[in-house]
Protein backbone atom coordinates (compact mmCIF):
# COMPACT_ATOMS: atom_id res chain seq x y z
CA UNK A 1 0.00 0.00 0.00
CA UNK A 2 1.37 3.36 -0.97
CA UNK A 3 0.76 5.80 1.84
CA UNK A 4 1.56 9.47 1.53
CA UNK A 5 2.44 9.70 5.17
CA UNK A 6 3.94 13.17 4.82
CA UNK A 7 0.67 14.56 3.52
CA UNK A 8 -1.30 12.85 6.29
CA UNK A 9 1.15 14.10 8.90
CA UNK A 10 0.86 17.65 7.61
CA UNK A 11 -2.90 17.48 7.57
CA UNK A 12 -3.05 16.04 11.08
CA UNK A 13 -0.67 18.69 12.40
CA UNK A 14 -2.83 21.39 10.90
CA UNK A 15 -6.15 19.95 12.00
CA UNK A 16 -5.05 19.06 15.50
CA UNK A 17 -3.94 22.53 16.50
CA UNK A 18 -7.15 23.03 18.43
CA UNK A 19 -6.18 20.20 20.79
CA UNK A 20 -3.43 22.26 22.39
CA UNK A 21 -5.73 25.25 22.61
CA UNK A 22 -8.32 23.18 24.47
CA UNK A 23 -5.74 21.62 26.78
CA UNK A 24 -4.31 25.03 27.65
CA UNK A 25 -7.69 26.60 28.24
CA UNK A 26 -9.02 23.74 30.36
CA UNK A 27 -5.71 23.68 32.22
CA UNK A 28 -6.46 27.20 33.47
CA UNK A 29 -9.25 25.80 35.62
CA UNK A 30 -8.55 22.11 36.00
CA UNK A 31 -5.33 21.02 37.63
CA UNK A 32 -3.97 17.68 36.45
CA UNK A 33 -6.69 15.42 35.00
CA UNK A 34 -4.91 15.55 31.62
CA UNK A 35 -5.77 11.89 31.31
CA UNK A 36 -9.48 12.58 31.69
CA UNK A 37 -9.55 15.62 29.38
CA UNK A 38 -7.68 13.69 26.68
CA UNK A 39 -10.14 10.81 26.91
CA UNK A 40 -13.07 13.21 26.71
CA UNK A 41 -11.59 14.59 23.51
CA UNK A 42 -11.11 11.04 22.21
CA UNK A 43 -14.80 10.45 22.90
CA UNK A 44 -15.72 13.62 21.02
CA UNK A 45 -13.43 12.79 18.09
CA UNK A 46 -14.67 9.23 17.70
CA UNK A 47 -18.33 9.75 18.55
CA UNK A 48 -18.01 7.43 21.54
CA UNK A 49 -19.45 7.70 25.03
CA UNK A 50 -17.56 7.49 28.27
CA UNK A 51 -18.15 5.74 31.54
CA UNK A 52 -16.47 7.41 34.47
CA UNK A 53 -15.69 5.83 37.78
CA UNK A 54 -14.23 7.70 40.66
CA UNK A 55 -14.99 8.78 44.18
CA UNK A 56 -16.84 12.08 44.63
CA UNK A 57 -14.90 15.32 44.65
CA UNK A 58 -12.43 14.62 41.86
CA UNK A 59 -13.69 17.52 39.70
CA UNK A 60 -15.41 15.27 37.21
CA UNK A 61 -18.33 17.66 36.75
CA UNK A 62 -16.09 20.67 36.67
CA UNK A 63 -13.82 19.11 34.07
CA UNK A 64 -16.73 18.35 31.75
CA UNK A 65 -18.28 21.77 32.31
CA UNK A 66 -14.96 23.46 31.58
CA UNK A 67 -14.41 21.42 28.45
CA UNK A 68 -17.91 22.27 27.30
CA UNK A 69 -17.23 25.97 27.79
CA UNK A 70 -13.93 25.71 25.92
CA UNK A 71 -15.54 24.09 22.89
CA UNK A 72 -18.70 26.22 22.97
CA UNK A 73 -21.15 23.40 23.45
CA UNK A 74 -24.17 23.00 25.68
CA UNK A 75 -23.69 21.07 28.87
CA UNK A 76 -26.24 19.28 31.01
CA UNK A 77 -25.74 17.46 34.27
CA UNK A 78 -28.46 14.99 35.08
CA UNK A 79 -28.50 13.56 38.57
CA UNK A 80 -29.94 10.07 38.33
CA UNK A 81 -32.24 9.26 41.26
CA UNK A 82 -34.46 6.26 42.03
CA UNK A 83 -37.62 8.25 41.14
CA UNK A 84 -36.32 9.54 37.79
CA UNK A 85 -38.54 8.66 34.83
CA UNK A 86 -37.56 8.26 31.17
CA UNK A 87 -39.68 11.33 30.38
CA UNK A 88 -37.60 13.36 32.82
CA UNK A 89 -34.63 12.52 30.65
CA UNK A 90 -35.81 12.61 27.06
CA UNK A 91 -38.85 14.90 27.40
CA UNK A 92 -42.58 14.54 27.11
CA UNK A 93 -45.76 15.92 25.51
CA UNK A 94 -47.57 18.52 27.56
CA UNK A 95 -51.02 19.92 26.96
CA UNK A 96 -51.13 23.63 26.12
CA UNK A 97 -54.44 25.00 27.34
CA UNK A 98 -54.17 28.17 25.32
CA UNK A 99 -53.87 26.37 22.01
CA UNK A 100 -55.66 23.18 23.01
CA UNK A 101 -52.79 21.15 21.56
CA UNK A 102 -50.03 18.92 22.89
CA UNK A 103 -46.61 20.41 22.62
CA UNK A 104 -43.24 18.74 22.97
CA UNK A 105 -41.11 19.53 25.98
CA UNK A 106 -37.60 18.33 25.25
CA UNK A 107 -35.70 16.83 28.14
CA UNK A 108 -32.17 17.58 29.30
CA UNK A 109 -30.74 14.99 26.93
CA UNK A 110 -31.00 17.58 24.17
CA UNK A 111 -27.56 18.93 24.80
CA UNK A 112 -23.98 18.32 23.60
CA UNK A 113 -22.18 17.13 26.67
CA UNK A 114 -24.28 15.18 29.14
CA UNK A 115 -23.01 14.22 32.53
CA UNK A 116 -25.27 11.38 33.68
CA UNK A 117 -24.31 11.46 37.32
CA UNK A 118 -24.60 8.21 39.28
CA UNK A 119 -26.43 6.41 36.49
CA UNK A 120 -26.77 3.33 38.70
CA UNK A 121 -29.17 5.14 41.08
CA UNK A 122 -32.02 4.97 38.53
CA UNK A 123 -33.97 1.89 37.56
CA UNK A 124 -33.34 -0.02 34.34
CA UNK A 125 -36.04 1.74 32.27
CA UNK A 126 -34.33 5.14 32.71
CA UNK A 127 -30.91 3.63 31.99
CA UNK A 128 -32.32 1.99 28.86
CA UNK A 129 -33.80 5.29 27.67
CA UNK A 130 -30.40 6.94 27.99
CA UNK A 131 -28.52 4.06 26.37
CA UNK A 132 -30.95 3.96 23.45
CA UNK A 133 -30.52 7.66 22.87
CA UNK A 134 -26.74 7.20 23.06
CA UNK A 135 -26.84 4.44 20.48
CA UNK A 136 -29.33 5.88 18.02
CA UNK A 137 -28.52 9.56 18.57
CA UNK A 138 -32.19 10.36 18.25
CA UNK A 139 -35.18 10.53 20.57
CA UNK A 140 -38.84 9.90 19.83
CA UNK A 141 -41.42 11.85 21.85
CA UNK A 142 -44.99 11.07 20.92
CA UNK A 143 -45.04 10.79 17.15
CA UNK A 144 -42.07 13.00 16.57
CA UNK A 145 -38.47 11.90 16.28
CA UNK A 146 -35.78 14.40 17.12
CA UNK A 147 -32.15 14.10 16.16
CA UNK A 148 -29.79 14.83 19.01
CA UNK A 149 -27.22 17.58 18.71
CA UNK A 150 -23.80 16.93 17.31
CA UNK A 151 -21.38 16.58 19.04
CA UNK A 152 -23.24 14.41 21.50
CA UNK A 153 -21.18 12.89 24.26
CA UNK A 154 -22.54 11.14 27.32
CA UNK A 155 -20.38 10.79 30.38
CA UNK A 156 -21.99 8.43 32.81
CA UNK A 157 -20.62 8.14 36.30
CA UNK A 158 -20.96 5.33 38.78
CA UNK A 159 -19.94 5.90 42.33
CA UNK A 160 -17.79 2.91 43.31
CA UNK A 161 -18.17 3.29 47.07
CA UNK A 162 -21.95 3.21 47.58
CA UNK A 163 -23.81 0.23 46.20
CA UNK A 164 -26.87 0.15 48.51
CA UNK A 165 -30.16 0.55 46.64
CA UNK A 166 -28.52 0.92 43.23
CA UNK A 167 -29.13 -0.68 39.87
CA UNK A 168 -25.65 -1.46 38.47
CA UNK A 169 -25.52 -1.41 34.68
CA UNK A 170 -25.49 -4.88 33.11
CA UNK A 171 -22.30 -5.86 31.26
CA UNK A 172 -24.08 -5.75 27.88
CA UNK A 173 -24.97 -2.09 28.44
CA UNK A 174 -21.57 -1.13 29.82
CA UNK A 175 -20.09 -2.54 26.58
CA UNK A 176 -21.81 0.32 24.72
CA UNK A 177 -19.52 2.84 26.35
CA UNK A 178 -16.42 3.28 24.26
CA UNK A 179 -14.18 3.98 27.23
CA UNK A 180 -14.35 3.39 30.93
CA UNK A 181 -12.16 5.78 32.85
CA UNK A 182 -10.97 5.34 36.37
CA UNK A 183 -10.31 8.70 37.88
CA UNK A 184 -7.79 8.74 40.68
CA UNK A 185 -6.77 11.27 43.27
CA UNK A 186 -4.42 14.08 42.26
CA UNK A 187 -0.84 13.94 43.46
CA UNK A 188 0.54 16.21 46.19
CA UNK A 189 1.70 18.97 43.86
CA UNK A 190 -1.56 18.94 41.94
CA UNK A 191 -3.61 19.02 45.12
CA UNK A 192 -1.56 21.96 46.40
CA UNK A 193 -2.24 23.83 43.16
CA UNK A 194 -5.98 22.93 43.35
CA UNK A 195 -6.09 24.20 46.91
CA UNK A 196 -4.48 27.50 45.97
CA UNK A 197 -6.46 28.04 42.80
CA UNK A 198 -9.86 27.23 44.26
CA UNK A 199 -9.42 29.42 47.32
CA UNK A 200 -8.54 32.54 45.33
CA UNK A 201 -10.83 35.52 45.25
CA UNK A 202 -11.57 35.03 41.60
CA UNK A 203 -11.83 31.64 40.03
CA UNK A 204 -10.37 31.53 36.50
CA UNK A 205 -12.89 31.72 33.70
CA UNK A 206 -12.64 29.54 30.62
CA UNK A 207 -12.85 31.20 27.24
CA UNK A 208 -14.25 29.45 24.20
CA UNK A 209 -11.32 28.49 21.96
CA UNK A 210 -12.82 25.99 19.52
CA UNK A 211 -16.06 25.82 17.63
CA UNK A 212 -18.00 22.54 17.74
CA UNK A 213 -17.76 22.39 13.96
CA UNK A 214 -13.97 22.11 14.19
CA UNK A 215 -14.32 18.97 16.30
CA UNK A 216 -16.92 17.50 13.94
CA UNK A 217 -14.71 18.08 10.91
CA UNK A 218 -11.69 16.69 12.77
CA UNK A 219 -13.52 13.35 13.04
CA UNK A 220 -13.00 12.56 9.38
CA UNK A 221 -9.33 13.49 9.69
CA UNK A 222 -8.98 11.12 12.64
CA UNK A 223 -10.22 8.31 10.44
CA UNK A 224 -7.45 9.09 7.97
CA UNK A 225 -4.78 8.41 10.59
CA UNK A 226 -2.71 5.54 9.19
CA UNK A 227 -2.69 2.22 11.02
CA UNK A 228 -0.11 -0.31 9.90
CA UNK A 229 -1.00 -3.99 9.69
CA UNK A 230 1.48 -4.70 12.48
CA UNK A 231 -0.57 -2.49 14.80
CA UNK A 232 -3.81 -4.11 13.65
CA UNK A 233 -2.39 -7.54 14.44
CA UNK A 234 -1.13 -6.25 17.79
CA UNK A 235 -4.68 -5.13 18.64
CA UNK A 236 -6.09 -8.50 17.56
CA UNK A 237 -3.53 -10.30 19.73
CA UNK A 238 -4.46 -8.19 22.76
CA UNK A 239 -8.19 -8.81 22.31
CA UNK A 240 -7.70 -12.52 21.62
CA UNK A 241 -5.45 -12.87 24.66
CA UNK A 242 -8.42 -11.80 26.81
CA UNK A 243 -10.46 -14.58 25.20
CA UNK A 244 -7.87 -17.38 24.99
CA UNK A 245 -5.16 -16.42 27.47
CA UNK A 246 -3.63 -19.90 27.30
CA UNK A 247 -2.71 -19.37 23.64
CA UNK A 248 -0.57 -16.44 24.67
CA UNK A 249 1.24 -18.10 27.57
CA UNK A 250 -1.13 -16.56 30.12
CA UNK A 251 -2.32 -19.84 31.64
CA UNK A 252 -2.83 -18.24 35.03
CA UNK A 253 -5.53 -15.94 33.60
CA UNK A 254 -7.65 -18.79 32.18
CA UNK A 255 -9.67 -19.38 35.38
CA UNK A 256 -9.98 -15.66 36.08
CA UNK A 257 -11.72 -14.58 32.86
CA UNK A 258 -15.37 -15.45 32.32
CA UNK A 259 -15.79 -13.57 29.05
CA UNK A 260 -13.11 -11.89 26.99
CA UNK A 261 -13.43 -8.62 25.12
CA UNK A 262 -15.98 -8.45 22.29
CA UNK A 263 -15.27 -7.45 18.65
CA UNK A 264 -16.64 -4.04 19.67
CA UNK A 265 -13.48 -3.78 21.77
CA UNK A 266 -11.26 -4.28 18.69
CA UNK A 267 -13.21 -1.64 16.74
CA UNK A 268 -13.11 0.85 19.60
CA UNK A 269 -9.43 0.17 20.23
CA UNK A 270 -8.64 1.04 16.62
CA UNK A 271 -10.74 4.23 16.72
CA UNK A 272 -9.43 5.33 20.10
CA UNK A 273 -5.80 4.62 19.14
CA UNK A 274 -6.24 6.74 16.00
CA UNK A 275 -7.73 9.56 18.03
CA UNK A 276 -4.89 9.23 20.54
CA UNK A 277 -2.36 9.57 17.71
CA UNK A 278 -4.30 12.62 16.48
CA UNK A 279 -4.03 14.22 19.91
CA UNK A 280 -0.25 13.70 19.64
CA UNK A 281 -0.33 15.42 16.20
CA UNK A 282 0.81 12.17 14.56
CA UNK A 283 -0.46 10.83 11.26
CA UNK A 284 0.04 7.17 12.19
CA UNK A 285 -0.67 4.92 15.14
CA UNK A 286 2.15 3.51 17.25
CA UNK A 287 2.02 0.75 19.87
CA UNK A 288 2.22 3.53 22.46
CA UNK A 289 -1.23 4.74 21.40
CA UNK A 290 -2.64 1.24 21.74
CA UNK A 291 -1.04 0.60 25.12
CA UNK A 292 -2.07 3.99 26.42
CA UNK A 293 -5.74 3.68 25.47
CA UNK A 294 -5.98 -0.13 25.81
CA UNK A 295 -6.94 -0.31 29.49
CA UNK A 296 -9.71 2.31 29.02
CA UNK A 297 -11.22 0.35 26.13
CA UNK A 298 -10.88 -3.09 27.69
CA UNK A 299 -11.37 -2.82 31.45
CA UNK A 300 -15.20 -2.86 31.25
CA UNK A 301 -15.26 -5.50 28.52
CA UNK A 302 -13.38 -8.25 30.32
CA UNK A 303 -15.76 -10.06 32.64
CA UNK A 304 -14.00 -11.71 35.53
CA UNK A 305 -15.01 -14.91 37.35
CA UNK A 306 -15.93 -15.38 41.01
CA UNK A 307 -12.52 -16.97 41.41
CA UNK A 308 -10.88 -13.73 40.29
CA UNK A 309 -13.05 -11.77 42.72
CA UNK A 310 -12.04 -14.15 45.50
CA UNK A 311 -8.40 -13.53 44.61
CA UNK A 312 -9.14 -9.79 44.59
CA UNK A 313 -8.13 -9.56 40.94
CA UNK A 314 -9.85 -6.89 38.89
CA UNK A 315 -10.46 -6.66 35.15
CA UNK A 316 -7.91 -3.84 35.22
CA UNK A 317 -5.22 -6.20 36.59
CA UNK A 318 -6.02 -8.76 33.90
CA UNK A 319 -5.86 -6.18 31.10
CA UNK A 320 -2.51 -4.89 32.42
CA UNK A 321 -1.16 -8.44 32.54
CA UNK A 322 -2.26 -9.04 28.96
CA UNK A 323 -0.70 -5.80 27.75
CA UNK A 324 2.55 -6.62 29.52
CA UNK A 325 2.68 -10.08 27.93
CA UNK A 326 1.87 -9.43 24.29
CA UNK A 327 4.97 -8.62 22.29
CA UNK A 328 5.01 -5.07 20.97
CA UNK A 329 5.61 -5.01 17.20
Amino acid sequence: MNVDIQAINEKIKKESVFVDKIMNEVGKVIVGQKYMIERLLIGLLTNGHIHLEGVPGLAKTMAVRTLSAAIQTKFQRIQFTPDLLPADLIGTLIYDQSTGKFMTKQGPIFSNLILADEINRSPAKVQSALLEAMQERQVTIGDETFLLDDPFLVLATQNPIEQEGTYPLPEAQIDRFMLKLQIGYPNKEEELEIMRRMTQKTIPVVMPVVKPQEIISARSVVQEVYMDEKIERYIIDIVFATRNPRDYGLDELEPLIQYGASPRASINLVLAAKAHAFLRHRGYVTPEDVRSIGPDVLRHRVIITYEAEAEEKTAEDIVRQVLNKIEVP
Binding site: M1, I5, D228, K230, Y284, T286, E288, I326, V328, P329
Partner: protein, 322 residues
Amino acid sequence: MKIKISVFLIAGILSFSLLNAQAPAPDSGSSAQPDTISSGIKMRASVSSKEVPLNRPLIFTIQVEWFGELSRYEISEVEDPVVRNFTIQSNSSSDRREMVDGELKAIKTFEFEMMPLELGMGYIEGVIVKYIDTVTGEGKHLVTNRLEVKVIEPVAEPGSRKGLIKWVVLFIILVILGVAIFWGRKKQIEKRRRQEEEAAAMAPIEIDYLKQLKASVPLDNPDLHLKDAYSQLSHLVKKYLTEKYELPATTATTEEIISGLKQNDVPESLINNTEEILNKSDVVKFSGGEGERAELERLYTLFEDMLDRNLKESKTALYKES
Protein backbone atom coordinates in the same frame (compact mmCIF):
# COMPACT_ATOMS: atom_id res chain seq x y z
CA MET B 1 -21.95 -112.71 -3.12
CA LYS B 2 -22.74 -109.12 -2.12
CA ILE B 3 -25.36 -110.32 0.39
CA LYS B 4 -22.79 -112.68 1.97
CA ILE B 5 -20.28 -109.85 2.44
CA SER B 6 -22.97 -107.67 4.02
CA VAL B 7 -23.97 -110.42 6.45
CA PHE B 8 -20.33 -110.88 7.50
CA LEU B 9 -19.89 -107.14 7.98
CA ILE B 10 -23.02 -106.83 10.13
CA ALA B 11 -21.97 -109.91 12.12
CA GLY B 12 -18.51 -108.39 12.62
CA ILE B 13 -19.92 -105.03 13.78
CA LEU B 14 -22.37 -106.80 16.15
CA SER B 15 -19.65 -109.00 17.66
CA PHE B 16 -17.39 -105.91 18.20
CA SER B 17 -20.30 -104.10 19.82
CA LEU B 18 -20.96 -107.03 22.10
CA LEU B 19 -17.30 -107.15 23.11
CA ASN B 20 -17.41 -103.49 23.96
CA ALA B 21 -20.69 -103.88 25.76
CA GLN B 22 -18.92 -106.11 28.25
CA ALA B 23 -17.10 -103.08 29.55
CA PRO B 24 -18.74 -101.31 32.49
CA ALA B 25 -19.11 -97.49 32.74
CA PRO B 26 -15.84 -95.58 32.81
CA ASP B 27 -14.10 -95.11 36.09
CA SER B 28 -14.29 -91.63 37.62
CA GLY B 29 -10.53 -91.59 38.10
CA SER B 30 -8.43 -89.38 35.94
CA SER B 31 -6.75 -92.16 34.00
CA ALA B 32 -8.32 -95.50 34.99
CA GLN B 33 -10.47 -97.22 32.40
CA PRO B 34 -13.22 -99.76 33.04
CA ASP B 35 -12.31 -103.25 33.94
CA THR B 36 -12.91 -106.03 31.48
CA ILE B 37 -14.07 -109.22 33.11
CA SER B 38 -14.01 -112.68 31.62
CA SER B 39 -15.13 -115.41 34.02
CA GLY B 40 -12.56 -115.18 36.87
CA ILE B 41 -10.14 -112.93 35.08
CA LYS B 42 -10.35 -109.14 35.23
CA MET B 43 -8.51 -106.51 33.17
CA ARG B 44 -7.97 -102.78 33.70
CA ALA B 45 -6.37 -100.31 31.27
CA SER B 46 -5.24 -96.88 32.35
CA VAL B 47 -3.00 -93.96 31.39
CA SER B 48 -0.77 -92.01 33.76
CA SER B 49 -2.65 -88.79 32.97
CA LYS B 50 -5.52 -87.53 30.84
CA GLU B 51 -3.31 -84.62 29.78
CA VAL B 52 0.33 -84.98 28.92
CA PRO B 53 2.85 -82.24 28.06
CA LEU B 54 4.43 -82.59 24.67
CA ASN B 55 7.84 -83.24 26.18
CA ARG B 56 6.75 -85.79 28.80
CA PRO B 57 6.14 -89.55 28.37
CA LEU B 58 2.76 -91.14 28.89
CA ILE B 59 2.51 -94.50 30.64
CA PHE B 60 -0.21 -96.79 29.39
CA THR B 61 -0.84 -99.65 31.81
CA ILE B 62 -2.80 -102.88 31.33
CA GLN B 63 -3.41 -104.79 34.50
CA VAL B 64 -4.83 -108.35 34.38
CA GLU B 65 -5.76 -110.02 37.67
CA TRP B 66 -7.51 -113.08 38.93
CA PHE B 67 -7.94 -115.03 42.17
CA GLY B 68 -5.75 -118.04 42.51
CA GLU B 69 -2.26 -119.07 41.47
CA LEU B 70 -0.37 -117.21 38.77
CA SER B 71 -0.35 -120.39 36.72
CA ARG B 72 -4.19 -120.47 36.67
CA TYR B 73 -4.10 -118.44 33.41
CA GLU B 74 -1.44 -118.04 30.86
CA ILE B 75 -1.27 -114.70 29.02
CA SER B 76 -0.45 -115.91 25.57
CA GLU B 77 -0.25 -112.55 23.76
CA VAL B 78 -0.57 -108.82 24.43
CA GLU B 79 -0.65 -106.86 21.21
CA ASP B 80 1.22 -103.61 20.94
CA PRO B 81 -1.39 -100.85 21.27
CA VAL B 82 -2.39 -99.00 18.12
CA VAL B 83 -1.73 -95.34 18.99
CA ARG B 84 -2.44 -92.02 17.29
CA ASN B 85 -0.32 -88.94 17.95
CA PHE B 86 1.99 -91.06 20.10
CA THR B 87 4.98 -93.22 19.51
CA ILE B 88 5.74 -96.21 21.72
CA GLN B 89 9.14 -95.92 23.33
CA SER B 90 9.29 -99.08 25.42
CA ASN B 91 7.22 -101.69 27.19
CA SER B 92 7.57 -103.89 30.23
CA SER B 93 5.63 -106.43 32.22
CA SER B 94 5.59 -107.69 35.79
CA ASP B 95 3.88 -110.33 37.89
CA ARG B 96 2.94 -110.20 41.54
CA ARG B 97 0.77 -111.90 44.00
CA GLU B 98 -1.05 -110.53 47.03
CA MET B 99 -3.52 -111.71 49.65
CA VAL B 100 -6.94 -110.10 49.57
CA ASP B 101 -9.41 -111.05 52.32
CA GLY B 102 -7.43 -114.27 52.91
CA GLU B 103 -7.49 -115.16 49.23
CA LEU B 104 -4.54 -115.22 46.88
CA LYS B 105 -4.71 -112.77 44.00
CA ALA B 106 -2.45 -112.89 40.95
CA ILE B 107 -1.72 -109.62 39.11
CA LYS B 108 0.01 -109.21 35.79
CA THR B 109 0.94 -105.72 34.66
CA PHE B 110 1.94 -104.58 31.14
CA GLU B 111 3.28 -101.08 30.76
CA PHE B 112 3.89 -99.10 27.56
CA GLU B 113 5.84 -95.86 27.63
CA MET B 114 4.96 -93.55 24.78
CA MET B 115 5.85 -90.01 23.72
CA PRO B 116 3.38 -87.52 22.27
CA LEU B 117 4.05 -86.33 18.73
CA GLU B 118 2.23 -83.00 18.55
CA LEU B 119 -0.25 -80.76 20.39
CA GLY B 120 -3.87 -81.87 20.29
CA MET B 121 -5.65 -85.08 21.05
CA GLY B 122 -3.96 -88.52 21.15
CA TYR B 123 -5.70 -91.89 21.13
CA ILE B 124 -4.84 -95.42 22.27
CA GLU B 125 -7.02 -97.89 20.44
CA GLY B 126 -8.32 -101.03 22.11
CA VAL B 127 -5.62 -103.67 22.86
CA ILE B 128 -6.40 -107.38 22.59
CA VAL B 129 -4.99 -109.48 25.45
CA LYS B 130 -5.12 -113.21 24.66
CA TYR B 131 -4.95 -115.80 27.46
CA ILE B 132 -5.33 -119.56 28.02
CA ASP B 133 -7.25 -121.10 30.90
CA THR B 134 -4.76 -123.74 32.05
CA VAL B 135 -7.51 -125.80 33.74
CA THR B 136 -9.74 -126.12 30.73
CA GLY B 137 -7.12 -125.47 28.07
CA GLU B 138 -9.46 -122.92 26.45
CA GLY B 139 -8.00 -119.85 24.74
CA LYS B 140 -9.83 -116.54 25.18
CA HIS B 141 -9.16 -112.81 24.84
CA LEU B 142 -9.97 -109.48 26.47
CA VAL B 143 -10.06 -106.04 24.76
CA THR B 144 -9.22 -102.72 26.45
CA ASN B 145 -11.27 -99.63 25.79
CA ARG B 146 -10.15 -96.85 23.48
CA LEU B 147 -8.49 -94.13 25.57
CA GLU B 148 -8.00 -90.49 24.71
CA VAL B 149 -5.32 -88.19 26.03
CA LYS B 150 -4.85 -84.47 25.49
CA VAL B 151 -1.36 -83.38 24.49
CA ILE B 152 -0.65 -79.97 25.99
CA GLU B 153 2.11 -77.33 25.77
CA PRO B 154 5.53 -78.64 26.80
CA VAL B 155 6.76 -77.87 30.29
CA ALA B 156 10.19 -76.55 31.14
CA GLU B 157 12.82 -79.20 31.38
CA PRO B 158 14.40 -79.38 34.81
CA GLY B 159 17.79 -78.88 33.24
CA SER B 160 16.71 -75.79 31.20
CA ARG B 161 16.35 -73.60 34.33
CA LYS B 162 20.14 -73.42 34.56
CA GLY B 163 20.30 -72.00 31.08
CA LEU B 164 17.59 -69.51 31.91
CA ILE B 165 19.42 -68.33 35.02
CA LYS B 166 22.56 -67.93 32.92
CA TRP B 167 20.67 -65.73 30.49
CA VAL B 168 19.07 -63.70 33.27
CA VAL B 169 22.45 -63.11 34.91
CA LEU B 170 23.92 -62.14 31.54
CA PHE B 171 21.01 -59.79 30.92
CA ILE B 172 21.41 -58.15 34.33
CA ILE B 173 25.13 -57.71 33.75
CA LEU B 174 24.44 -56.17 30.37
CA VAL B 175 21.82 -53.85 31.85
CA ILE B 176 24.20 -52.75 34.61
CA LEU B 177 26.92 -52.23 32.06
CA GLY B 178 24.54 -50.25 29.80
CA VAL B 179 23.36 -48.08 32.69
CA ALA B 180 26.96 -47.46 33.74
CA ILE B 181 27.94 -46.45 30.21
CA PHE B 182 24.83 -44.27 29.83
CA TRP B 183 25.44 -42.62 33.21
CA GLY B 184 29.07 -41.98 32.42
CA ARG B 185 28.20 -40.51 29.02
CA LYS B 186 25.44 -38.36 30.52
CA LYS B 187 27.81 -36.99 33.13
CA GLN B 188 30.34 -36.30 30.43
CA ILE B 189 27.76 -34.43 28.31
CA GLU B 190 26.55 -32.51 31.34
CA LYS B 191 30.08 -31.56 32.24
CA ARG B 192 30.73 -30.40 28.69
CA ARG B 193 27.46 -28.45 28.62
CA ARG B 194 28.29 -26.82 31.95
CA GLN B 195 31.69 -25.89 30.63
CA GLU B 196 30.11 -24.46 27.49
CA GLU B 197 27.56 -22.54 29.53
CA GLU B 198 30.26 -21.20 31.78
CA ALA B 199 32.25 -20.21 28.75
CA ALA B 200 29.17 -18.61 27.19
CA ALA B 201 28.37 -16.80 30.42
CA MET B 202 31.91 -15.54 30.55
CA ALA B 203 31.73 -14.39 26.93
CA PRO B 204 30.09 -10.99 26.58
CA ILE B 205 26.65 -11.14 24.91
CA GLU B 206 27.71 -8.32 22.60
CA ILE B 207 29.76 -10.78 20.51
CA ASP B 208 26.64 -12.78 19.79
CA TYR B 209 24.59 -9.66 19.07
CA LEU B 210 27.18 -8.35 16.65
CA LYS B 211 26.88 -11.63 14.74
CA GLN B 212 23.07 -11.45 14.86
CA LEU B 213 23.14 -7.86 13.63
CA LYS B 214 25.18 -8.82 10.58
CA ALA B 215 22.90 -11.76 9.84
CA SER B 216 19.54 -10.03 10.32
CA VAL B 217 20.37 -6.71 8.69
CA PRO B 218 22.62 -7.62 5.73
CA LEU B 219 23.55 -4.16 4.52
CA ASP B 220 25.68 -5.61 1.72
CA ASN B 221 22.54 -7.03 0.12
CA PRO B 222 21.46 -4.61 -2.63
CA ASP B 223 17.90 -6.06 -2.61
CA LEU B 224 17.46 -5.49 1.10
CA HIS B 225 13.83 -4.79 2.04
CA LEU B 226 14.24 -1.61 4.00
CA LYS B 227 11.04 -1.77 6.04
CA ASP B 228 11.82 -5.31 7.19
CA ALA B 229 15.40 -4.31 7.95
CA TYR B 230 14.21 -1.47 10.18
CA SER B 231 11.91 -3.93 11.98
CA GLN B 232 14.76 -6.42 12.44
CA LEU B 233 17.08 -3.75 13.75
CA SER B 234 14.55 -2.45 16.26
CA HIS B 235 13.69 -6.00 17.37
CA LEU B 236 17.35 -6.82 17.89
CA VAL B 237 17.89 -3.66 19.93
CA LYS B 238 14.93 -4.56 22.12
CA LYS B 239 16.22 -8.13 22.57
CA TYR B 240 19.65 -6.84 23.51
CA LEU B 241 18.22 -4.39 26.05
CA THR B 242 16.10 -7.16 27.55
CA GLU B 243 19.15 -9.37 27.99
CA LYS B 244 21.60 -6.70 28.99
CA TYR B 245 19.50 -4.63 31.40
CA GLU B 246 16.76 -7.14 32.27
CA LEU B 247 14.09 -4.81 30.93
CA PRO B 248 10.88 -6.25 29.43
CA ALA B 249 11.78 -4.37 26.25
CA THR B 250 10.10 -6.74 23.79
CA THR B 251 6.71 -6.13 25.42
CA ALA B 252 7.25 -2.42 26.03
CA THR B 253 6.85 0.67 23.90
CA THR B 254 9.77 2.92 23.01
CA GLU B 255 8.69 5.45 25.64
CA GLU B 256 8.56 2.75 28.33
CA ILE B 257 11.94 1.35 27.29
CA ILE B 258 13.61 4.75 27.52
CA SER B 259 12.06 5.43 30.88
CA GLY B 260 13.24 1.98 32.04
CA LEU B 261 16.80 2.68 30.86
CA LYS B 262 16.82 5.99 32.71
CA GLN B 263 15.83 4.21 35.91
CA ASN B 264 18.63 1.68 35.36
CA ASP B 265 21.38 4.32 35.42
CA VAL B 266 22.38 3.57 31.85
CA PRO B 267 24.82 6.14 30.35
CA GLU B 268 23.06 9.11 28.77
CA SER B 269 24.68 8.61 25.37
CA LEU B 270 23.46 5.02 25.20
CA ILE B 271 19.92 6.12 26.10
CA ASN B 272 20.00 8.79 23.40
CA ASN B 273 21.25 6.36 20.79
CA THR B 274 18.63 3.78 21.76
CA GLU B 275 15.91 6.42 21.63
CA GLU B 276 17.01 7.53 18.19
CA ILE B 277 17.20 3.99 16.78
CA LEU B 278 13.82 2.98 18.19
CA ASN B 279 12.00 6.19 17.33
CA LYS B 280 13.32 6.31 13.77
CA SER B 281 12.54 2.61 13.30
CA ASP B 282 9.03 3.17 14.70
CA VAL B 283 8.39 5.86 12.11
CA VAL B 284 9.32 3.49 9.28
CA LYS B 285 7.58 0.48 10.85
CA PHE B 286 4.27 2.15 11.60
CA SER B 287 3.90 5.13 9.26
CA GLY B 288 3.55 3.17 6.04
CA GLY B 289 6.71 4.70 4.63
CA GLU B 290 9.60 2.66 3.19
CA GLY B 291 12.51 4.33 4.98
CA GLU B 292 15.86 5.37 3.58
CA ARG B 293 18.89 3.18 3.19
CA ALA B 294 21.30 5.87 4.36
CA GLU B 295 19.28 6.35 7.52
CA LEU B 296 19.21 2.60 8.11
CA GLU B 297 22.99 2.43 7.73
CA ARG B 298 23.39 5.27 10.22
CA LEU B 299 21.15 3.53 12.79
CA TYR B 300 22.96 0.24 12.13
CA THR B 301 26.27 1.94 12.91
CA LEU B 302 24.82 3.50 16.03
CA PHE B 303 23.80 0.10 17.36
CA GLU B 304 27.08 -1.46 16.26
CA ASP B 305 28.99 1.26 18.12
CA MET B 306 26.83 0.72 21.16
CA LEU B 307 27.62 -3.01 21.10
CA ASP B 308 31.35 -2.37 20.53
CA ARG B 309 31.54 0.05 23.42
CA ASN B 310 29.71 -2.29 25.77
CA LEU B 311 31.87 -5.18 24.57
CA LYS B 312 35.03 -3.29 25.48
CA GLU B 313 33.58 -2.47 28.90
CA SER B 314 32.58 -6.10 29.47
CA LYS B 315 36.04 -7.33 28.48
CA THR B 316 37.70 -4.83 30.80
CA ALA B 317 35.42 -5.91 33.63
CA LEU B 318 36.21 -9.58 32.93
CA TYR B 319 39.92 -8.88 32.84
CA LYS B 320 39.74 -7.09 36.18
CA GLU B 321 37.75 -9.95 37.68
CA SER B 322 40.22 -12.55 36.47
